[in-house]
Subunit: 187 residues, 4 copies
């Protein structure tokens, strides 16, 4: 397993039309299904976004980092469709689940007195890699489960068990509608 | 089994969003599936739109009728997603299929020299009824087939065999992505 | 446009698992979505089946042809899921729609006193070609519309406007759940 | 608008089939979508199954408990479709994910030397309750996230954060294709 290069731009997949040439004749095709390649790009984009928020925090401070995090949530999560099932790694009851954008933003970038968050994305993350255990694709939904390892600026590695649910919207953008992250069980 | 209080704030849901109260607790639900009721309403809306275009033509002339027809296509067909599979009742080769909005508008409201159309929706339609032979629903897609009968201002009835494919978009709007209409076969 | 070679075997697509090697690691993928290639093969299979029934009738008589037709309906249509929306080219009211397997079998192979059918698939079909106007894919559903031309043993060509709806079942088999066929409109 | 009589014979429908009476006329509907009620029943069934395995173990011993657990996996999980994304509460690397039925069975009922499992379902579970944070439904897929609390025969409560992904198969059975369970984070 090798680490993923962090040059991927944020999720900007286009649904759009394809022109097929089956039978030697061109005809338009509308295809809103998620592909395995879509999924790979969206997984890479998540890591790239995390690192970008961390770097923005270091270079430009917390306010700018929060702006970037909000943009990531707007473009890459499904809060525009309604509640997102988000169980971050380090949350506790009664704020375990962050089904609103406000709660998710607080988790990633802190600065919200309603939640006891210090900003998970602000912790100097520099490297990201993931390893799928399995993937299930059905229509405009893709589900993935696996290990994610992120490394901070001190070289410390955090490993989590992570499940994602992606939904491809009408513009062809994959949005995270489900995100369950947990530390490995220690007997 | 009793429910346990939770403090999660519910948010405004936009995509066919529902608040469920299963197990005595409210929680947000995002549900983009087409229902049978959605289908019935969309079938009724098509007939209402046809009659509205006819009436607009009679009351306000061809230009205004064309505006109404364009609005019907914008709001009720899926041309915003790409090619629509539209085989109108009375078209002939090489213009049988109207996969673009331009071609569909010409069929309904005429006034386009590219197509030999006189405007199907301008023919004084006053009454509309349909009778499903069967319906198939899968995810955000619904398919219907049946008889449609429309009556003009002279009381003449036109019967067609009609197939529709609807797709529910991210805003919860059913759009026609497939429309095959044909006169009954005469041996 | 060229004619389709008739060597395709009947629809036998497997859903099954795929092993992906994204990120240099193998992991299993379950993917039930229809692909454009699935659609092309299913369209080819329909033509191959029509010709096979015709040839069976010529070589082995009506009873054997009916057996082959029943097998085609069992394997390639969705009657096992419930009603199929089938509007054959040459049916008339009150038997226009053949939502049951019995009605479809009568249309293709005749021999059923309930319906006034002579057996459409028994008419010496030897060649088949189709030309898509457009295709729409969403999840396990694919919709196609276009021209189909079939040629009999006298070299006579019949052209129809044809819409198909395919559904990929849990075994990965594409089944026709919608089939609307009509002769071109003659002004 | 009045309905018009039609003589189509309705057939026995198998796939979530419904007879609709819209417009005063009956017609068959094939509808494979997951409903909220389906989801509730599947969540309840999971708890009932856990308790049943525990009780079987107590009353009839480990072998019979393993039989019941295998039946639960066969009927309620999607291993028949391929890999299931299953991250049980108490597994550790390199056996964290149980994408095969064998691995899942070992987790629930033990008795497999390949895995270091003592049988999670054998621990005297008597009560089960769950509390959804949110639900997302799309086509034949439903996703849920929330708290699950199970109580053993000593009255001890275990709380987990649980995500499920259900897929409705062609026979209308909801199968778990994703299951991520984790103990609450302790700071």
């Amino acid at each position: 397993m090798k680490s993923i290069p962090m040059t991927t731009t944020l999720m900007a997949l286009t649904l759009g039309a394809i022109t097929s040439t089956a039978y030697g004749k061109e005809f338009p095709v509308v295809d809103g299904n998620i592909t395995q390649d879509d999924v790979r790009k969206a997984q890479e984009a998540w890591g790239a976004a995390l690192i970008k928020i961390s770097k923005t925090y270091k270079d430009q401070g917390p306010e700018k980092a929060r702006e970037v995090a909000a943009e990531v949530l707007d473009k890459g999560y499904g809060y525009n469709m309604g509640a997102v099932m988000f169980k971050p790694t380090l949350t506790t009851s009664p704020n375990t689940f962050r089904v609103t954008k406000e709660g998710a933003l607080s988790y990633f970038a802190g600065g919200n007195k309603t939640y006891p968050d210090t900003g998970f994305a602000l912790k100097g993350w520099e490297k990201y890699e993931f390893e799928n255990a399995a993937v299930h694709i059905s229509g405009n939904i893709a589900l993935t489960m696996g290990k994610v390892r992120i490394t901070n600026d001190k070289g410390e590695v955090t490993e989590v068990d992570k499940t994602w649910g992606f939904r491809k919207d009408d513009q062809g953008v994959l949005r995270i509608i489900l995100h369950h992250s947990s530390l490995p069980y220690v007997p």
